[in-house]
């Protein structure tokens, strides 16, 4: 029988070797190899003295020494260079309707090929995908899919688009850009569901490649952002303005968490800001919170709160306001802002009836913004 038991001497030898190789500048990854994690050099960072790097991808602006990963858990300093550990390694792949993003004004003939990697640059205490958004790639089960393979699979499954979804796509921007470029070549639209916590420079590079954005505007209250989300509001508002100015399709989603970000004044401030900066035709979704992750003690959002927020936004002049995570609710549907008729009837993420022709209301001919 083969002897597998390690002695204390063996253990000390191994530990010593590790310390030695670390000291002379070899990372354990280089030594043993980690075939499941990518070693593609990251973009949007700068080298700073002392072998450190400063990440310029998101407003966190992480400064990391060798061997350390960013707050996102997926970008790592290896000997003074920054590497992405998730290039080609999504941990979620699925075929999902775009209504789940939610994108209600961007109808596609088929659901989207959706992917996500581990990690996130925020730490939302109510994250429903925390099992991989709050983990590094070494802690999740990952697939191996090059950008070309993603496109092949999307085409094989007759997907209507590629959707970067579930976790924050910003953190795997290198992978995203390569996929999006290839998707352009085969005329597959790309969708990005993001919290918008990204710096302007990388965002500007994404704008020509992404056809539709869903931005999670987590709340209109910096205190809530700091305590429960991990970022700050201002950069997200800048992102929204940039996307809008670039003329890309944009929808906004705000998950209302009872007592934390559902104060009437915060909702009003958000509505007023959208109206003043993005206009009245940007679709806005108020979605229902369900106890998750670190907010298990908070009750689900009462339907009446969502209803009230929706009505307030409509009264303020916003034309397309929805309630989400309440299947069957009247706020699931699209109504014509001119004649008030029901134009798109939905049940959750399923379109039941389309009473329009290429976005024109069948009753009054009013043209609804979006892709139909």
């Amino acid at each position: 029988m083969e002897k597998t038991r390690k002695t204390r001497r063996d253990f000390l030898k191994l530990a010593g070797s590790l310390c030695f190789t670390g000291y002379i500048g070899l990372s354990p990854f280089k030594l043993f190899g980690k075939p499941e994690l990518s070693e593609v050099e990251a973009r949007f960072y700068e080298k700073i003295p002392g072998g450190k790097v400063r990440c310029l991808l998101c407003p966190n602006l992480c400064v990391r020494a060798s061997g350390e990963t960013g707050q996102c858990r997926v970008r790592e300093n290896v000997n003074g260079s920054y590497f992405t550990r998730v290039y080609g390694n999504p941990c979620v792949i699925a075929i999902d309707p775009v209504e789940k993003c939610p994108l209600f004004h961007y109808q596609l003939p088929n659901p989207a090929f959706s992917i996500a990697t581990a990690g996130c640059n925020l730490f939302c205490h109510y994250c429903q995908n925390w099992a991989f958004s709050q983990k590094g790639p070494a802690e999740t089960k990952n697939y191996s899919l090059t950008p070309a393979q993603v496109i092949d699979k999307a085409l094989e499954y007759k997907s209507g688009a590629i959707s970067f979804f579930y976790t924050e796509p910003t953190i795997y921007i290198e992978y995203l850009i390569d996929i999006a470029r290839m998707a352009r070549e085969v005329s597959l639209p790309c969708i990005m569901v993001t919290a918008g916590f990204i710096n302007p420079e990388p965002l500007k590079e994404l704008l020509p490649l992404i056809d539709a954005f869903t931005v999670g505007l987590k709340g209109f209250n910096n205190d809530f952002f700091r305590k429960h989300v991990g970022g700050s509001l201002e950069p997200v508002l800048e992102t929204l303005k940039l996307i809008h100015a670039a003329g890309r399709h944009l929808e906004i989603v705000t998950l209302l968490v009872p007592t934390l970000n559902d104060q009437a004044e915060a909702i009003k401030a958000e509505i007023d800001w959208i109206k003043a900066n993005l206009g009245v035709s940007v679709p806005l979704h108020f979605t229902r919170f369900n106890p998750q992750y670190r907010l298990m003690q908070v009750p689900p959002t009462p339907a009446s709160i969502l209803d009230k927020a929706r009505k307030e936004a409509i009264n303020a002049g916003l034309q397309y306001v929805y309630t989400g995570n309440l299947p069957g609710h009247e706020g699931n549907h699209t109504y014509c802002p001119k004649c008030g008729r029901l134009v798109v009837e939905r049940l959750s993420f399923k379109v039941l009836n389309n009473n329009h022709e290429d976005g024109k209301c069948l009753n009054c001919g009013f043209r609804l913004p979006g892709k139909w």
Partner: protein, 317 residues
Amino acid sequence: MYLEDNMYISPRSAGRLMLLLVFLLFCPSFANTAQAVPRVQGMEELEELREEISLLNLLRGLYLSEDQLMQLCEIAVEADNAVKSTASPILRDRKEIVATFADLRNRLFMAPGQETQSQQKAQQINDRLKEAQENVREHLARLETRMASVMTSAQLEIIEGFVPCLIPPRDLKNPVRVGQAGAAEGPLARMTELIYATPEDVWNERKMILIGKVVQKIEEESGKLSDAMRNDLLNRLSATAKKIRTTDPVDFALKKGDLADELLLIDHTRRGARGHKALGKVGKWFLSETALRILPRWKDAMAAGMDQVTEADSTND
């Protein structure tokens, strides 16, 4: 309520009698009322409560507007009136009806040939009951159409998919949410995952135990299978399991739902034929006596702000 000069029936008993007659009206004609399973007497109240709980679970998932609720209440009252107006002449002749049928029963204990007259009389009454039943059904079908027009297609789809329950199914209580990775996963999806992820040596050793459990569950739900049917099912499930296990990881992630459906080995798209005048689910839920009791209370509760949740949901997903 007085049926005869010397016979007083309390309002409560009259209500029960009315219920009984309404039940008779809704039942198929006497020709086919034989119950395969004896009913447990004295548990009617529990059945009523079950039905009320189910309806409330459904209402919680429908998000009816105030206006919709008002209209539904009106139609439910109209349905009740229609049933009552049809039932009242039958209720008036109740003694005669019961006596005629009792007479026929008694004559069937006698020598053959003595029952002919009673049979004819009972048949006439039975025809009258059937006619009343048809009339009520037609009326209720019209009311059901009106009721359906009050609701949105989305609400109708929820009603269509709803099954009576004490605890609402996960997708009604807690639907797959915006941005959530992975769809609502039921036992079939978990079984599919298990079949896929089980290591080869364990699978080879235990596959028949696992598949046997699926068959056992099917037998619990649908009754005992013959040996031939069970073997056939085991073979078909083994073939499906083999297909699941040989799927590429990426493809498995993309079509896990379809593979789980294949485990069912039935065609989802096939639906049972429907009787021409049979009530649909909208009618069954909302034109019932239960709806008549529950809808006004639900309307009042909604107006009083009952959805202001004070406790955290224990759902942990």
